[in-house]
Amino acid sequence: MLSLSNVDSFYGRSQALHDMTVTAPKGEILAILGRNGVGKTTLLRTILGLTDRSEGVISLDGEEISARPTHERARAGIAYVPQGRMIIPDFTIRDNILMGGFAAGGPRRIPDIVPELFPYLMDNLDRPGGVLSGGQQQQLAIARALACKPAVLLMDEPTEGIQPNIVEQIEEIIIRLNRELGLTILLVEQNVTFARRAAGSFVMVEHGTAVETGRIDLLSDDMVAKHMAI
């Protein structure tokens, strides 16, 4: 279980999260919903300690991690699939995946599930990450996160800017990672239909704070219209 209570987060002097309280139940998908620019990405970055400063309590399975540096949070089991993927273009696909291994400890290796999920990556391990298409880079970013041997996966709009035929594939993979590997997933998502299908609970974000939160079946069309319609 990953929980934030009364968390404020800052970039320089501007505050991006206000009094954010939210819990991601263990082994479930938490959908993080809201319009662009309301703080969804900041929420994920704050969990990893990637904003300039934050206050409040963040805890993972009852252990407080708010004071720890980013790499220790990663080693504690939180992996990140960032917006824009952040693949290292001149590293090979193998090296990109193995980067995640620094969080896992022990000898770095490609997780067993990766060949099954992403056969294309396994067939092209020695090619540079930069030559991949957007969808393939997303797969690579997920493989890298899995190499961290995470308990919690933070995914920031994993289907954004990806060709439609791959979107469905990525969505199925997200559901498999949750159902089969038991990963807790915090999923920033614009697609409400997919969120309803995959998630167990949701949090609606506006102005950097949680305005609605609860089980996913309580996510009403009114809420969606109020907080997500443009």
């Binding site: 990893l48 990637l50 540096p69 980013t70 790499h71 990663a74 080693r75 992996a79 990140y80 960032p82 952040m86 290292i88 273009p89 001149d90 590293f91 090296d95 193995l98 980067m99 995640g100 291994g101 620094f102 969080a103 896992a104 770095r108 930069g130 890298r144 961290c148």
Partner: protein
């Protein structure tokens, strides 16, 4: 002509050792370390002092200078640079200040000269390092005169460049350094301890500067402000080669060292400097990110 190129090559070698450290630290940490030249100077003084007090020759001075400069670099990182990450102008000014302090520490003999105590080998004067006799006697191979000391510089640099390549591209810590160079945030999110790796990187680059200092001491006089000009040359190499590129740093130092060497012998030192600066300006106009900057999307 081959002799001139040989001298150029030895100049290139020292330039390379200085620039390697700068390139790695600037690439990995975004830190412009103006005190890098003083780490060269500290290496040179380590050679002078270890010769006087420990009776050690050049071969022992090399590893000793590596350790001394690396430790000073590590201290600099922990005390000053670590607190200024992401503030590039502040770091530049702060390290410049450190450079001046280090120079004065040597010039004032750690302040002891105020009390009338003189430490041989320190102070404002010029120092010399003795080079073992067998490295000073030129010999001939197949009719070509070989200057052993210059050859020695080239060999040491070659070995250290190979070592650096191995560390950067074949070890776990090198992978971490390269990951940090490209994206420190994602590196941290992948469990890489950015601070620890950066400190190691900084110490290693400082150690290379120390070795460059020892090699310089073999053919130049050692004095407190000898580092100031070397840091400028080092940054010229980094800018021309492309930040964080090992290959770029090697080729840029070869190019600039040769230009400097050839023009200095054909004309004079001052004109050679002007030509070097002219070439650097032309190259950065043509390729603002240097010859071998890695592509980023």
């Amino acid at each position: 002509m081959s002799e001139i190129l040989f001298i150029g090559l030895s100049l290139s070698s020292i330039l390379l050792l200085i620039a390697l450290g700068l390139s790695i630290t600037y690439g990995a940490m975004g830190v412009i370390n103006m005190a890098h030249g003083e780490l060269v100077m500290i290496g040179a003084y380590t050679a002078v002092l270890s010769g006087i007090y420990l009776n050690l020759n050049l071969f022992f001075a090399l590893p000793l200078a590596f350790v001394v400069s690396a430790l000073v670099g590590l201290g600099l990182e922990k005390l000053v640079i670590r607190r200024l990450y992401g503030r590039i102008i502040d770091t530049l000014l702060a390290t410049w200040g450190v450079a001046i302090i280090l120079q004065q520490l040597i010039r004032l003999e750690f302040g002891l000269s105020f009390f009338g105590i003189h430490i041989e080998g320190l102070g404002p004067g010029l120092q010399n390092m003795d080079v073992p006799a067998f490295l000073t006697q030129p010999f001939e191979i197949a009719g070509i005169p070989i200057q052993p000391y210059r050859s020695f510089i080239i060999v040491v640099t070659l070995l250290l460049t190979l070592l650096t390549w191995f560390l950067m591209y074949r070890t776990s810590i090198g992978t971490q350094v390269r990951a940090i160079m490209r994206n420190p945030q994602i590196a941290a999110a992948c469990g890489i301890d950015v601070r620890r790796v950066s400190a190691f990187t900084f110490a290693y680059g400082s150690g290379l500067a120390g070795i460059a200092g020892v090699l310089l001491a073999g053919f130049k006089t050692v004095m407190p402000d000898m580092g100031a000009s070397t840091v400028v040359d080092g940054f010229l190499v980094v800018v021309v080669g492309g930040v964080g590129s090992l290959l770029g740093t090697v080729l840029a130092s070869a190019l600039l060292g040769q230009i400097n060497g050839v023009f200095a012998i054909l004309t004079n030192d001052i004109l050679a400097r002007a030509v070097v600066f002219g070439v650097v300006i032309a190259i950065i106009l043509w390729r603002p990110r240097g010859l071998f900057a890695f592509k980023s999307r």
